[in-house]
């Protein structure tokens, strides 16, 4: 975890926060914070990328859908991600994750099992958008 401001406290699990000028960038930063629990982003090269898309009208459920789809894709690929892109057209989200297969040079962090609905919020203030939720580890 490089950036302490990307996390918030929970008794047993970990709260992740993404901030940005748009919903999409906030989601991208939340994903980065979540995957940094599993591996230091600087140790993950970008030898593979995975595209994904989903539909979700509720912006808060969309954050959970985004994070959980990324976790599932990482598991299917035997990979860890460190960089993300996301575009939104109404309720349709189209994203891409960049990373690599797990290998001996990547120090293991803690596995994230899933993004929860606890402390879930996606909101806008004068500084931009903030997306947050608890992830189960």
């Amino acid at each position: 975890m490089n950036d302490e401001t990307a996390y918030f406290e929970h008794g047993a699990d970990i709260g992740v926060i993404g901030r940005g000028a748009t919903v999409e960038t906030a989601f991208v930063e939340a994903a980065r914070a979540m995957f940094a629990i599993m591996a230091e982003p600087g140790e993950v090269d970008e030898s593979l990328s995975v595209a994904l898309e989903f539909e979700e009208a509720d912006v808060e459920f969309a954050l959970v859908a985004w994070l959980n789809r990324l976790l599932a894709e990482a598991r299917l690929q035997g990979a860890v991600f460190s960089r993300f892109e996301l575009a939104r057209d109404g309720a349709h989200y189209r994203g891409r994750a960049f990373g690599c297969k797990w290998n001996a040079s990547i120090a293991r962090g803690t596995e994230v099992k899933g993004a929860t609905l606890t402390a879930l919020s996606v909101k806008q203030d004068e500084k931009g958008w903030e997306a947050r939720c608890i992830v189960d580890v």
Partner: protein, 475 residues
């Protein structure tokens, strides 16, 4: 937690009086005064939310190891009657469906281990896939995953992972009824293809332990335990399949709740009436994940035996018991003098059947069900036995329970230093994750001795044996 708003029902049971006009079930928190005071305020908030769910029967309860969870508190117990609109909640089971502990007794004593401990630790570490990103040697098709979801530990046994006697000492003999692979997404099945026989990460572990103290000689004899004996505990669950089922149903049930007229006090309590199509779908999927977890622990048992056979060929490892602590199960309980069939949610709580319960294996019929309170690398674990008159739908604590957040633990400990310090105390830790070791520092947990003592004082289960860790493979 501010305990002044609690009313003590006795020295280990506390309630929150209702305010006028409040419509909810009672709440009961089982803990001594100190454990209660150490709990986060969120535990009270979450158990109050559980008490507002439809169809709850009796109180919403928290065990002595309770801590802040998501939806239910960890250590939460609640029962629902399907015929009275009772619900089943994905948030009342959690992501790691049927996470639990398999405990194996051995014919070894501490002295047998002494000169082999390092070799054993290294070999277990090499042969038990553990930690984020680690897959197992077993690669399966989705149709084979379907078979596992229907057959549970039987599937593993049929492929040579274990011996027939193991099944006698697994809840429901290793296979729950009602599993419905058709309610499990293809994504969940795909996630499991390389994950059978893996330990996982976080608080999961495989520990080699020594029985340091016997509290109840009669029960210990029934359980085959004696002081100085080596035992092995394996803590893990249903891996990616369970995680994906939790993910899928948490959102779908949260969305369905509104449609079904359920006013959720917290979206994480995502639920549906048990008798609704949505509730039945989750029930079928959850049971499928339970069977997957039972098969996973059976395979890990086999891998553990293989390692022991190489390092300590004289070793015999017998299943003492296998008990899950993240489940919802249909059970018969007496309420108000009548037997009722209830769906009992235990999220971070262990089933603890009393002596003479018909589901107990013959060997334990007079002793009660073995209950395992898992430890925290450096402290210890307890084996307890179920008690007659358990006031919490035959439930008890499942672990020490966290007392400090992972972020706080990371700031306080360094993984390498912690591992070295534990080695100095004769506890060998093997892990791929220094971060994980720091997060799981023994100091980040409650005092397991107090949790076990409070569990006994509250009449939830009685202490039988204390186990001291010697080797710990952490996920």
């Amino acid at each position: 937690m501010d305990i002044t708003r609690f009313k003590a029902l006795n020295e280990t049971c506390w309630t929150l009086p209702k305010v006028q006009g409040e419509t909810r079930a009672e709440v009961q928190l089982y803990a001594d005064r100190e454990l209660l005071a150490e709990m986060d305020d969120k535990v009270a908030e979450q158990i109050l939310n559980v008490a507002r769910l439809p169809g709850i029967v009796g109180p919403a309860m928290a065990m002595p190891d309770a801590h802040w969870g998501y939806g239910f508190p960890i250590g939460g117990v609640a029962a629902f009657d399907a015929d009275q609109g009772g619900i089943i909640s994905a948030g009342g089971v959690g992501f790691d469906i049927s996470c639990g502990i398999r405990c194996l007794r051995t014919n070894l004593n501490a002295i047998d281990l002494a000169s082999k401990a390092v070799q054993l630790a290294d070999s277990l570490y090499r042969n038990i896939p553990a930690g984020v990103g680690q897959e197992g040697e077993i690669k399966l098709s989705t149709s084979q995953i379907d078979d596992i979801m229907l057959q549970g530990a039987d599937w593993a046994l049929a492929r040579g992972y274990g011996v027939d006697e193991d099944l006698q000492y697994i809840e429901e003999r290793g296979c729950v009824k009602g599993a419905d692979p058709g309610q499990v997404s293809d994504l969940a099945k795909k996630r499991q293809r390389g994950e059978m026989g893996t330990l996982g990460s976080g608080n999961h572990y495989l520990e080699v332990q020594v029985v340091e103290k016997i509290f109840d000689p009669a029960c210990a004899e029934a359980f085959g335990l004696h002081e100085g004996q080596i035992v092995v505990s394996i803590h893990c669950g249903s891996r990616g399949l369970g995680h994906q089922i939790g993910t899928d149903y948490l959102v779908s049930l949260a969305k369905a709740a509104g449609r079904l007229g359920i006013d959720l006090p917290d979206r994480e309590l995502a639920c549906a009436p048990i008798n609704s199509p949505e509730g039945q779908a989750y029930l079928g999927a959850m049971n499928a994940a339970i069977n997957c977890a039972l098969a996973n622990r059976q395979i890990l048992t086999h891998l553990t035996r293989e390692v022991f056979a190489r390092i300590l060929p004289e070793a015999r490892l017998e299943t003492l018991f296998d008990v899950s602590h993240n489940t919802c199960k249909l059970e018969s309980h007496e309420v108000g003098g009548k037997k009722r069939w209830l769906y009992v949610h235990r999220k971070g709580a262990t089933r603890a059947f009393a002596p003479e319960h018909p589901q107990l294996p013959e060997r334990y019929r007079h002793a009660g069900q073995p209950v395992i309170i898992g430890g925290s690398m450096g402290t210890g674990s307890y084996v307890l036995a179920g008690l007659p008159g358990n006031p919490a739908y035959a439930s008890a604590s499942h672990g020490a329970g966290r007392s400090m957040s992972r972020n706080a633990a990371l700031k306080r400990w360094r993984g390498r230093e912690l591992i070295d310090e534990l080695a100095g105390r004769g506890i060998l830790i093997r892990t791929r994750s220094m971060r994980g070791a720091a997060e799981e520092a023994p100091g980040a947990y409650k005092d397991v001795d107090r949790v076990a003592e409070a569990t006994e004082k509250a009449g939830l289960a009685k202490r039988v044996a204390f186990l001291r860790p010697k080797v710990c493979v952490k996920g």
